[in-house]
Symmetry: C2
């Protein structure tokens, strides 16, 4: 049995990209420390980002430290961890397919971020709202349906239960997270899409009900989606509510259905 815990480094306070790694570690029951959320952890993370640690200096969080090895980039972390956590089959084709789906999920995550930061990550949302509104129209009408439609189709082509092989993989966990994130950020968009993605929604619920995941979700280790993260609920970027009726309404601001935190 493995003794030394994995060290996960990610911004405290948001689920963000770190959450995809956390879900894999939690589902596997793997020992890990969520370093930046511990006392002194932010200093430790900053030190590694300055290159004061072993291994390859990370470009950005999240990164995982496993002994002297440092792996950054969410999909690279998962590709490294999954065989060790029994969250991907052994064969090369399965691993290539898992990585391929994960990278498409990663693209969706990047686009979900860029909806509220279309000009620059270094600027406030409030300083790029006009562009954000335009990007949101394309994201919610074209991109989300395309990404989720593709995931639904892939899942359906594999029997509807698991994305890879005949048991749970890290890809299933990541799909759970994006369904949750998009439902938080774009509830109206997701309500409209629901009947087109029954398998994805069922997968989301199955994952949420797995004993270790359920215990994790109920714990304070699980961070809530919020407006500092990647999936942000800005009602003006969501589709209009269903009572708005006409197609033209989608060009107007969405009704505020939930207070912005």
């Amino acid at each position: 049995m493995r003794q030394a815990p994995y060290e996960l480094y990610y911004w405290p306070g948001i689920p963000g990209r770190g959450e995809f790694v956390r879900l894999a570690l939690e589902e596997a029951g793997a020992p890990y420390v969520d370093v930046a959320r511990m006392p002194g952890g932010m200093r430790a993370m900053a030190s590694l980002l300055r290159g004061e640690g072993t291994g390859l200096v990370p470009f950005a969080p999240p990164f995982l430290k496993d002994g002297d090895l440092v792996v950054a980039q969410t999909a690279a972390i998962l590709a490294y961890l999954a065989p060790r956590l029994n969250l991907v089959p052994e064969d090369d084709p399965s691993r290539a397919e898992a990585l391929q789906i994960q990278l498409t999920i990663a693209d969706l995550v990047t686009e979900a971020h860029d909806v509220h930061h279309p000009i620059a990550s270094s600027l406030y949302y409030e300083d790029q709202r006009t562009a954000a509104k335009k990007r949101a129209e394309s994201f919610t009408k074209e991109r989300v349906p395309k990404f989720l439609g593709w995931l639904e189709r892939v899942l359906g082509g594999r029997g509807g239960v698991h994305f890879i092989g005949d048991s749970l993989s890290y890809v299933d966990l990541s799909a759970f997270q994006i369904v949750g994130g998009l439902s938080y950020a774009f509830p109206n968009v997701m309500a409209r899409l629901a009947r087109r993605i029954p398998l994805l929604l069922a997968l989301h619920d199955r994952v949420a009900g797995r004993p270790r995941v359920a215990a994790y979700l109920a714990s304070d280790r699980r961070l809530k989606f919020n407006e500092e993260g990647i999936f942000r609920h800005y009602p003006e970027l969501d589709a209009p509510g269903s009572h708005s009726g006409s197609a033209a309404a989608s060009r107007r601001s969405a009704p505020v259905k939930r207070a912005r935190k």
Copy 2:
């Protein structure tokens, strides 16, 4: 020896993301068919994108067909191909590091694209020029220096010759391509950065001089950078020319130094 050629599928006419795969296949001297550039190839690509082939339906080109296996997503294709082409070391840590650097290069490629398409890929550049100009300021002043500075530092930390291990890897080939792409799209930005990235520029030149790469670059299989692709030379998005002098000049349009195709 392998007999059946790999099949690469990518949009004809632009180097784009397909080029990262092409460079690996060319350097390795691997047999491959660039399908969409052959007669009838676009129909074949469209058919696979509709899900009429074996394997996982690709979300988007590029994708690689190896027998019945279909792998999409550039970094996933390279992670699958590299061990077969002798373009990555055998051990897990090296492969994790290679994927991590490749994914950071992939992020840079996405941002290089989004500079000219900050609102939507489905709109023309001309319809998002205002946002593009703003995004370009952040991209050229913050992001390019950060990405290339990180790559330079990683390369320097490994002796300055290869990113991974002690021989050429697919990461070196991809770094060659982004240096070329950025130099094409943002010549003024790259001229200013040159003295800060000597190792990357030297790597670029070494890769260009490798016999198989040099033969490839001189062939008509190599597609030129152009304004349909990811790295586009729009002078108004580049930094001002060096003769512009003052820092304030960087807020004005860059002088047109090269005709836009």
